[in-house]
């Protein structure tokens, strides 16, 4: 039996510098996986490969048993959505107009949104709780609201696999929690999720497993409690033992007064 998402011997390089080399891992349908690893290890590249936007130099990436290099782009876009880290909108589109763009893989050049497209858009707005923002201008929203719009845009594609690149970046504590609630809700709805995460403390409780891309081509996948261990993290992130607050339980907020 084949896995839902499968990387087999994948290599990818940027102008001579290899970003990923001989990467192997699998993901099952319904999993909610946090992708962690030090800066520059190739997390974003992995997500782009998983979305089929870039082709790998060697090896193969397949989704639901179909290899991306043999899948037309339009068909791939109906299966997987990538919510990018950076997203610029040069004009004053409303939230609704932006989220409707997620239906592009389902529309022909001349056809407008049909009934099912409208339903998918409504559902995406609803799942990310931004229905009330639909008429607002995207560029005038706060960071947390924009993050939700980006996720809604991905959901409007009705993907079977949702890829998120740093969804909690630039969010304050409250908005981070809202975002995690949103991820949990999507997971409960049966969406398979792979999200690159920097803030390790947010992972337990929201994600069912963790994929660690370490230096030296180390790849580990497992339960958050097994992977998020100080010894493993210190080695993967080249962090001196017990120096980072995330790695020391008694350092967590709220700090206790010592005097």
């Amino acid at each position: 039996m084949t896995s839902f998402l499968e990387f087999r011997g994948v290599s990818f390089s940027f102008g001579g510098n290899s970003a990923l080399e001989d990467l192997n891992f699998t993901m099952e349908q319904g999993e909610c996986v946090a992708l962690i690893g030090p800066n520059g290890v190739g997390k974003t590249t992995l997500l782009r490969l998983a979305a089929g936007i870039v082709a790998c130099a060697q090896g193969s990436v397949s989704l639901d048993g179909r290899r991306f290099d043999r899948l037309p782009r339009g068909a791939a876009a109906r299966m997987v959505a990538l919510v990018p880290q950076r997203f610029e909108v040069p004009f004053d589109f409303t939230v609704e107009q932006i989220v409707e763009q997620g239906r592009t893989p389902y529309l022909g050049l001349f056809s407008g949104l049909g009934r099912h497209d409208r339903i998918a858009v409504e559902r995406a707005l609803d799942l990310t709780s931004i229905t009330s923002l639909r008429k607002r201008i995207f560029n005038e929203l706060s960071g947390g609201e924009r993050q939700r719009v980006k996720i809604a845009l991905g959901l409007a594609q009705e993907p079977r696999l949702l890829l998120l690149d740093e969804p909690t970046q630039n969010l304050d504590l409250g908005r981070q929690l809202e975002l995690l609630d949103c991820i949990r809700l999507l997971h409960d709805e049966g969406v398979t999720i792979l999200a690159a995460m920097h803030d390790l403390q947010l992972i337990p409780g929201a994600f069912s497993s963790v994929l660690l891309l370490g230096p030296d081509r180390e790849v580990r996948k497992g339960d958050p409690h097994d992977i998020l261990q100080p010894e493993i993290l210190e080695r993967a992130f080249d962090c001196p033992p017990r120096r980072h607050p995330s790695l020391v339980a008694e350092n967590r907020l709220p700090l206790e007064k010592t005097r």
């Binding site: 979305a51 936007i53 782009r73 339009g74 791939a76 876009a77 109906r78 959505a81 990538l82 990018p84 950076r86 997203f87 610029e88 909108v89 040069p90 004009f91 004053d92 589109f93 409303t94 107009q97 932006i98 763009q101 997620g102 592009t104 893989p105 529309l107 050049l109 001349f110 008429k135 560029n139 005038e140 960071g143 924009r146 845009l153 594609q157």
Partner: protein, 363 residues
Amino acid sequence: METEIVEKTTSASAMPVRRAIRFYDDAFFLPILAFLVVVLAGVLVLSMGTGATKIGLREVLTSLWMGHASHSTNSVILFEIRLPRVLASVLVGAALSVAGLLFQGLFRNPMADPYVIGSSGGAALGAGLGLFLLPRFSFLGFGAAASMAFVGSVATIALVYWLARTNGRVPVVTLLLAGFAVSTMLSYSTYFLVVLDDNFGLRTRVLASWLTGVISVPRWTQLEVTAAMIGCGLIFCFPLARRLNTLALGDEYARQVGVQVEKTHLAIILTGSLLTAAAVSLGGVISFVGLVVPHMARLVMGPDHVRLVPVTALAGAIFLVLADTLARTMLAPSEIPVGLLTAFIGGPFFLYLLRRTRREYTF
């Protein structure tokens, strides 16, 4: 130690609320379109009545209704001089405005305009070269000027696009610099053609006026050719409009949702060039129309290109008919080139936009 509670300032966090007139809702689209059609009709009749010989509203309307029947002086003025010229303004205004809209979408940059990015200059040089080198050339009924204007426009945009693009984006600075350099070289090359021409006859005067932008009284065949070009261009815009909306969210995003980005870019360049070339072969290099009109349309209608294409075309036609009427009556009996007038209006507007877009949205 007590934490000091800093008094909340309201100005710091509040986003500036821009009070543009917005009719984003679908319900406004058709009424606005109908309104523009009515205004365009009114402006046409008004423009045909104004000039050295004033012709009353009733007479314009009855003449138009009856057709070119009588041989009275007024009828000759209306049908041989004013009507072709007004129709030329309609075509040029619509074509340049929609071309501007397409280029702004392509470059994802509200400062793009056929004049600013040099495509008008390229079309003018192409048309000039066509007139000089291949005076007898004809392709599918299009003369050398029109066909070469198209080639010149495509080549220029491709060049500016390639020069200005960095990391998949076209920043304002590189766009303006590349456009400025290329269009300056092109317009001086066209001047060079003027100098080279030894028989200082008709062609030179045609070329010289091309560089400032003058809508002269066109021949009917010329109108038919350009109307065909512009008609095709506008039809191509409709499938492109939806793609432009997706491309506005970035090439990478568009690729992700299955848009064939490179092919779409090429289609936009070709369509915009067709429109620019048609406009330039009628009216020469008229600056900033493609900047001002789409911008105004966007302020009112919002950025949805599906609605912007027809609105921009109509608004551009209205704008240029008004501008040309003003150009030929303001200093009567002498005429000023309409390109001069649009530069006077568009130049300051362009600078205002440049100041404003310093606040670039990124996320």
